[in-house]
Symmetry: C2
Subunit: 354 residues, 2 copies
Amino acid sequence: MAGPEPTRGPLTPEELQLATRNRGMPLEALRYDLTPTGLHYLLVHFDIPALDTAAWRLRVGGNVERELSLSLDEIRARPRQTLAVTLECAGNGRARLLPRPISQPWVNEAVGTAEWTGTPLAGVLAEAGLKSDTLEIVFTGADHGIEKGYEHDYARSLTVADATRPEVLLAYEMNRRTLEPQHGFPLRLLVPGWYGMTHVKWLTRIEAVREPFDGYQQRIAYWYKRDADDPGEPVMRIRPRALMIPPGFPDFLTRQRTVERGHVEVIGRAWSGLASISQVEFGVDGAWTAAALEKPAGPFAWCRWSASWDATPGEHILSCRATDAAGNRQPTEQPWNYQGMGNNLTQTVHVLVR
Amino acid sequence: MAGPEPTRGPLTPEELQLATRNRGMPLEALRYDLTPTGLHYLLVHFDIPALDTAAWRLRVGGNVERELSLSLDEIRARPRQTLAVTLECAGNGRARLLPRPISQPWVNEAVGTAEWTGTPLAGVLAEAGLKSDTLEIVFTGADHGIEKGYEHDYARSLTVADATRPEVLLAYEMNRRTLEPQHGFPLRLLVPGWYGMTHVKWLTRIEAVREPFDGYQQRIAYWYKRDADDPGEPVMRIRPRALMIPPGFPDFLTRQRTVERGHVEVIGRAWSGLASISQVEFGVDGAWTAAALEKPAGPFAWCRWSASWDATPGEHILSCRATDAAGNRQPTEQPWNYQGMGNNLTQTVHVLVR
């Protein structure tokens, strides 16, 4: 069943329902190196499941030498690692596309950075013993629903090479505390550098397979496509993006910013899942200057940037854009794709200086 | 400056911006007696301020015998009390009104219950010594912005009688942990039973005054009005409401629910700031039966209710409505007011049983 086509029309009640359930990070929270748990962005496809840790087990099976069934305590007893990781929804920015793909209508705010603690997945897979003809690892969550006519438990796969990278974790803590339910309690996958759909929450099953996984979330949902019939390219790692804390103070309804004249220190964050950030540029009315970059909390965490601005009275358009060490730079004109994925258009903030 | 008039038109980009910043509680979180901090609803009028506890002080002044300037440590050293309190936004349900007042477009989800820890306000006011002609206490937060042309720090007032009730707290912990920034760190007001606008976050100043406070948030924003010119009535305590966890599982986009036939235990919560909950009714296709009520975690917390339903194949409309001990019952037809306040229309959930 196909979904609705992208639209030039106004926001639909279905999109509003999603926007009031899911949660963006207000951009002033870019001030925190680590996003407070309750400010981190959140996208939940179906319902947040209720899992009972006494009954819960992570089952590891399929094309393996030894099937495993692990309790949370057994997973917590394994080698432990903590990483600061920036997560971003692949649909961030979708609501600004024209025509607008109809799904969760993010503007700019589907991002956050937390410290995630867990055990490396590679160790668990080694214990199970992947057979040599294993092609992919499939990760299945407890969240269940229907999307475009497909009823399924949420599931995504990774190649063996991607799944066994040392930074890939089975995570049971966020910001040094037990996961809150909405972030995947009791256990979620964490694949640093990849868009959010990869980090399967409420993990129940890991399965080694010999054929490419063709579940809905893998084969249909997260693809860059020109139209409904385009085979397209899969969405994987996070494209570079910089965001700024909108300076000054807002109007409640319009969010129009008022800034006092004089020196303004503009602050933001930048990240890329493709390489480290090499440059952030800050723009005032179309004139770009290099922002100062700070060292991130780790190779998978956003980095802080700042720029000085001498604000003169009147209306101005501020913007920022990131470039990564692989040469990827944010576009200033909107590329478009059918499902509204990977939109990293340069942010612009309109301000009135008084 | 007047705001836009209520509309029969589609959702506006301004409403979407608010919906992606502010945060509803997904209704499956009604399963928790205490809402996990990151799932609690959140409405922030302006920006979340960055407050430094080393420099921060709570100033108590105005029509008092002794002005006070209290550090967070001094406030934490005072008598300590913890209360389970249900908070709800006065605008909850606004997006379902027709015509629709243009503001934060809540559907149903602007609610949550947490344990809040703080010191009774009455003790601090007693230490400052209210002069006998004090009429109201004004509470001012650090959040600053413009709303309908009024530039102001967010501020609300209470009468001396309301402010000195024993359950009114200056709260510095939520769910037994230091407040996260978005919930008012380092200190917020907590006025159990009242709609959310009363619980001023990021408190910086408490002032005793001899005249009715006429700030924007007190005199204009939170009123029940028929139209722009109606003097109206102030919004105060929370009207009764019951909500259910939508049974079954959802479609991602439409949120349409699918339920398996047979026995279904439908679970929800009910609350009122006017009196305790005396009855919850559960409705199937317009036929009402009494739900079972559990004892709440305290006099200001929601109570759990449940109802058994023998689900038969086909489409059904489920609903629930609460009545409180003062005889207030939720309406089943929508009353309307100009600013979309205190909407407690009975919830309905459409399900397909298979």
